[in-house]
Symmetry: C2
Subunit: 163 residues, 2 copies
């Protein structure tokens, strides 16, 4: 039964733990890889205290000034209710601003403030370093194929496709 990379058949007493089929499963490794990446990014930007999720939000707002919360959530892959506290925090920090829209008074038009743009630029440096490290780990020759697979997974498992 496919012992993990650690491979062993010892008693679970001390060092080697049997993961069973888990080690061979894509889902399990996908989660560990994602979390490792998340933690690494958080460590890198630690002092800024803006985590990967916030970074993605800033990038999307920066690229789409005036975007609504609902569209932002869809683009970032977060529920709209998740964005409420996140955006409130970013607004309180003065990184974004929310204007009421004249035509549709239900929605907000979100955009970066100058301070938000500055923070985004700083975070982008960390992100670039982080992604360079990931690129290295993935390998230049594998990157495109790797991304293609991730996108297939994202699309293939989207919401209802769980047939």
């Amino acid at each position: 039964m496919a012992d993990g990379p650690q491979g062993a058949d010892e008693a679970p007493a001390d060092a080697q733990i049997r993961l069973g089929g888990l080690a061979e499963q894509i889902a399990f490794n996908l989660r560990l890889a994602q979390e490792a990446s998340f933690q690494a990014f958080a460590r890198r930007t630690g002092h800024v205290s803006l985590r990967p999720g916030r970074f993605a939000i800033l990038v999307i707002i920066g690229n789409n000034p005036g975007i609504s919360q609902t569209m932002l959530g869809a683009a970032a892959g977060r529920d709209k209710s998740t964005l409420t506290p996140a955006l409130a925090d970013l607004e309180k920090r003065g990184l974004i601003q929310r204007r009421r829209v004249a035509d549709d008074r239900r929605s907000y038009a979100i955009s970066l403030t100058p301070a938000g743009e500055a923070v985004l630029r700083e975070l982008s440096i960390h992100a670039a370093t982080h992604d360079r490290q990931l690129d290295e780990l993935v390998g230049a020759e594998s990157k495109d194929a790797f991304l293609a697979i991730l996108r297939r997974i994202i699309a293939g498992l989207a919401d209802g496709n769980a047939a």
Copy 2:
């Protein structure tokens, strides 16, 4: 406000949202893929109400009867404090049991109950289906390379390696 420092284009009224470099970044797609997988698994096992994390815990316990919570956490990639409520819940449901260890009265020896083994068997069916779906999306010819990359990421970004 006279906002729109970019002036370029206003909020994409429809579905055309600019992700900027995000779409090309491994970290961003890794997160979306992981979450899609997580959601798909949760949908699949919905009625059982045991999510991917719990499944991994049961698998590891099943493969390492008598394991301690600390080692279990390390194997599953969760902090020990995360396991406290999770194991309490599993114990309350009668799926696992925790015995005090004679030699070391600080730690517990965790093992599956017969009911836990039964649930594990049932979940394994869902997991197999889930992983079959993932295998399909990844492609048989790419699976090994894909897993190898994930493991490189996991190892390369582990805790301190964020140099």
